[in-house]
């Protein structure tokens, strides 16, 4: 058997090794895993083998528990989009370089295309849908609208999430800090300056 978790075996058959880099997250999350997903061997040091078929996964998303049967290889992004109908986060580069899939994991930004859904078990996930709704916009979303900080809108959900995280960490960022704060998000239409103005606007008003 392949013992190196960083080199998953080829083909459709995937094994999840709760070892190595994944062990810390797994240790926290295993308690929240549904019972049939938990290790059946009983021994702590034995690898848990999940998949390749679907397993029940339950995540806390925007303050609500969302459960679905999904292959353990399902990314957090696909789980949100395909299994929860939350299509705000977008698949654009599919390798963590553009930020269009950004969501909050316990308040911190992550590229949801580059993490597995099961690794998010036990964490509080916030997507753009959880930041504000059309009926109840956040101050930042309102500022995006007023400053025209969007064009085609495909990067916008990721930008909104990143800027929300930025303002939470630093409610009064200067221009350079805002630029840095959104440097993990690319916008192809070129809305950066408007986004910076939107964040500044919220910052001045003391909102979030």
């Amino acid at each position: 058997m392949d013992k190196k978790p960083e080199e998953p075996p080829e083909g459709v058959s995937r094994r999840l090794f709760l070892k190595g880099a994944g062990v810390a997250a797994a240790a926290v999350s295993v308690a929240q895993l549904p019972s049939d997903v938990q290790a059946t061997s009983g021994a702590e040091d034995e690898p848990t083998i999940l998949g390749p078929g679907p397993v029940p996964i339950q995540l806390r998303i925007n303050g609500v528990d969302g459960q679905a049967e999904a292959a353990p290889s399902t990314t957090l992004l696909d789980f949100l989009r395909d299994h929860q109908g939350l299509t705000g986060a977008k698949r654009v580069c599919d390798r963590g370089s553009c930020g269009a899939c950004t969501v909050l994991l316990d308040g911190r930004t992550v590229d949801s295309c580059s993490m597995l859904a099961i690794d998010a078990v036990g964490s509080e996930i916030t997507t753009v849908e959880g930041i504000g709704t059309p009926e109840n916009l956040s101050d930042l979303q309102q500022a995006f609208i007023e400053k025209d900080a969007l064009q085609c809108g495909f990067c916008t959900p990721g930008m909104v999430v990143s800027c929300t995280a930025l303002l939470k960490e630093n409610p009064t960022p200067d221009r350079e800090q805002i630029r840095r704060g959104i440097s993990g998000n690319i916008c192809r239409c070129g809305t950066y300056q408007n986004i910076i103005e939107a964040v500044e606007h919220v910052s001045r008003k003391g909102g979030k």
């Binding site: 109908g85 064009q151 809108g153 495909f154 192809r188 986004i195």
Partner: protein, 777 residues
């Protein structure tokens, strides 16, 4: 029937009277002294709420019941013929519901770039489709290849095309007797060759007679569109009708391709839905092979298929801006007047030869021009229209030539030199705005005099976007007071929906929030593609006419019920008023309630032709300020002043966004973007967003947009588009600014630190003898 009216056309202090014969029941354009309530206001886009909350549903977000996933197998070889495609193993794999091969469907057995479509599969899950794709067995006949124009142009280079197709083909002046994709017919082409020779002789003589001749060889790279939403569609057959949720910038064009008898799908009915589109930039006019494949897989599978490209497929196969190699010689006299320009240029549109032109002979009065242009086939993904096709590459060369010429004339100021050779009625006023706002004459450490140097550069643009016939709009005023305007065109992020709504609201005399808009549905009235920056120039006159006649019908109802004179009535700020401005006591809502019918519906088409107007073209000037680190070669664009005009401005805020976006893509083109081909494998190395560098927030300059509002009189809304013009001049302005900063010129983009350092290192001491004749550099 045709009514003749006199209108004012112009801008700022430059107005004149123009007599216009109104056509097809058209109405007069808004006049400069007219008070407008909606048009000209900075209003948020109508789709902004959906976009900031993630509730906007793009093609990629569709998930109809039973949907399965399509995947395209692509060629790993840059030049090969497909001998056979064996699907038998793949068909038996779990979840596979439909398969097809490109040789069968498209009758094309050649793979002329790494990434060319070979076969496609639809399976229940993406993983199953991926697994099945790996089981497809393809036998290729592998050929030698060329992935750069330099290798393709060499004698004895491997043939890119098939049959007798040559690698290099003259595209301008057009070859005679040329069949599709083929070579010129030597006999028929002789006349053209004779004319070219005469032209060359004439222009060479003018160059020889000029006081100064400057020359340069310029190279620009291949840029990919990289829209964030990839190409493709979710396709579903419902009772024989094809429904496509498509990521397209031409809903009606997409439908046309799938319903055409010449196409592969031949759907008798097709509805294309594209309410939200995640960018296009010129690459999404066609349904493309992916659109056809999606429709065919869905038909075969009997369930909806999502056939969106993955990022690699997008970057390799879904279009790009061709590269360019431009050699230029310009003759100028001491009075600063350009006498002649000689141009030879080459560019690659991939495996074809058309569409790789560089627009390097426009914008200014250039004297006599001798231009010959060649398309060069390479084994690379095909070019597509890319935001101002041909213009940024042409501008990069021409605008540097302008600066070189200015400098060679005992240092005449580059802006003054341009003014001398420019007669555009709007641009002549725009230079000074740019000059002042960039601080053109400010003292700067320039010319490589210190470790950090700054410089400024200027460049111009030109566009033709008043639109034309081919759009209708439907306005519906309901008895309950609700108002809707519909047009089937798409909004790719430019703000088309908002502008259409604003024009209707203005004409109806009600605020924008009382108008709902419906777009991106081919069941609604015909609308234009988002191309040539003509979308709103084409669409808004139809919107205004439909609103106008719907309002007339409503006022006729009011007049009839109240016994008033209909010609004495109008609507303003949602109140029914008389011509003297007095209020009738009726609100818009009250007026609607007087209807007997449920609603008034008016469908109106745009007049086919435009009026003479103030100017057929819109202009623009951009000035860039850069800072260059002489030790590291890193260029930072600090500021870009973009002066732009686009006829009458409907929404200055969204217009400003278009300009900012164009400038950012232009800076990105100037500094970082570049398709990199592996010379040994013939594959694109950076078919992702990690190594294909798009300008990020940290590198984005401050952009100062100045919009010039022009009453151009060309249509009843006088609107011109603004999507493309702002990208034309940016890279050229940046290049001129870099030359100003470091005291030597770069002839190639992207301007990477390596190239800057090489330019600085090879900078030779100025030779006084150079000054009189020939290039400064």
């Amino acid at each position: 029937m045709a009514e003749e009216i006199t209108i004012k056309v112009g801008f700022g202090d430059h107005f004149r009277d123009l007599t216009v014969r109104l056509q097809d029941g058209d109405i007069a354009p808004w006049q400069p002294d007219q008070q407008l309530d909606v048009v000209g206001k900075r209003l948020p886009r109508l789709d902004a709420v959906a976009k900031v909350t993630g509730t906007a549903k793009y093609a990629q977000d569709q998930n109809p019941a039973g949907m399965i996933h399509g995947r395209i197998l692509r060629s790993p070889h840059p030049n090969a013929d497909i001998r056979s495609v064996d699907l038998s193993t793949a068909k038996a794999m779990p979840g596979v519901r439909a398969t097809l091969t490109v040789p069968e469907v498209f009758e094309d057995s050649s793979a002329r770039f790494a990434g060319a479509e070979i076969a496609a599969i639809a399976a229940d899950t993406e993983q199953q489709a991926d697994a099945a794709m790996r089981a497809i067995q393809v036998e290729y006949e592998i050929k030698d290849f060329c992935v750069t124009i330099d290798t393709s142009m060499q004698d004895g280079a491997p043939q890119v095309g098939r049959g007798d197709q040559k690698n290099v083909q003259r595209v301008s002046p057009r070859s005679r007797g040329r069949r599709r994709g083929g070579n010129a017919n030597p006999g028929a082409d002789q006349q053209v060759l004779d004319r070219m020779a005469a032209r060359e002789k004439e222009v060479s003589a003018l160059l020889a007679a000029s006081d100064v001749v400057v020359e340069g060889t310029f190279r620009t790279q291949v840029q990919t569109h990289a829209p964030f939403e990839t190409h493709g569609a979710v396709c579903s057959w419902e009772d024989g009708q094809l429904v496509c949720w498509a990521s397209t910038q031409a809903t009606f064009g997409f439908r046309g391709e799938l319903t055409s008898n010449w196409g592969q799908v031949k759907a008798s009915e097709c509805r294309v839905l594209s309410e939200y589109v995640g960018g296009g930039f010129g690459s999404k006019f066609s349904a493309g092979r992916e659109g056809v494949i999606g429709a065919l897989l869905a038909k075969q599978a009997g369930v909806p298929v999502k056939m969106m490209l993955d990022r690699s497929g997008e970057q390799t196969s879904a279009g790009n801006r061709p590269d360019a190699l431009q050699k230029m010689r310009m003759g100028v006299n001491k009075d600063g007047v350009i006498q002649a320009l000689q141009i030879r240029s080459w560019g690659t549109p991939g495996s074809g030869t058309g569409g790789a032109g560089a627009h390097n002979d426009g914008i200014y009065k250039l004297g006599e021009v001798d231009k010959v242009e060649y398309g060069v086939r390479t084994n690379c993904g095909g070019a597509r229209a890319h935001r101002a096709p041909g213009w940024p590459q042409g501008s990069f060369a021409l605008e540097q030539m302008m600066d070189m010429a200015a400098h060679s004339l005992d240092g005449i100021d580059p802006i003054e030199f341009r003014k001398k050779n420019d007669d555009h009625p709007i641009r002549v006023a725009e230079y000074d705005i740019a000059k002042e706002r960039i601080g053109w004459n400010k003292a700067r450490v320039r010319g490589g005099a210190s470790n950090i140097c700054t410089g400024v550069g200027i460049a111009s643009n030109l566009w033709f976007s008043a639109g034309g016939g081919g759009a209708s709009a439907l306005v519906r005023i309901a008895k309950d007071g609700s108002v809707e305007i519909r047009n089937g065109a798409q909004d790719i992020g430019t703000g088309t929906r908002t502008v259409m709504g604003m024009v209707a609201a203005e004409e109806l005399g009600i605020p924008l929030d009382m108008v709902s808009t419906r777009i991106g549905d081919t069941n609604d009235p015909q609308g234009p593609m988002s191309g040539g920056s003509t979308t709103i120039g084409t669409l808004t006159p139809a919107a205004r006419l439909a609103a106008h006649y719907a309002k007339k019908e409503l006022l006729a109802v009011v007049a009839d019920r109240k016994g008033w004179d209909p010609t004495d009535l109008d609507i303003r700020k949602a109140r029914v008023i008389r011509n003297d401005g007095s209020d009738t006591g009726l609100s818009f809502h009250d007026a609607c309630q007087l209807m007997d019918d449920d609603a008034i519906e008016v469908l109106k088409a745009r007049p086919r032709r435009n009026y003479a107007g103030f100017s057929d073209t819109n202009a623009g000037v951009q000035a860039a300020e850069v800072e260059v680190d002489m030790e590291t070669g890193v260029v930072r664009v600090k500021k870009v002043v973009a002066v732009a005009d686009a006829g009458k401005l409907i929404n200055p805020m969204t217009a400003e966004s278009q300009v900012r976006g164009g400038v950012i893509q232009g800076v990105s083109y100037a500094l970082t973007e570049r398709r990199i081909m592996d010379r040994h494998k013939g594959r694109m190395l950076n078919d992702d967003l990690e190594n294909y560098k798009i300008l990020g927030s940290l590198d984005c300059p401050e952009i100062d947009v100045v919009l010039v509002d022009v009453y151009n009189g060309k249509s009843n809304t006088q609107v011109m588009g603004l999507g493309e013009p702002p990208i034309v001049a940016t890279a050229a302005a940046v290049a001129n600014a870099v030359a100003d900063a470091i005291g030597t010129r770069l002839f190639e983009i992207p301007i990477t630190p390596k190239k800057v350092l090489e330019a600085i290192a090879s900078k030779k001491a100025p030779d006084p003898a150079d000054k009189k004749k020939g290039a400064r550099l």
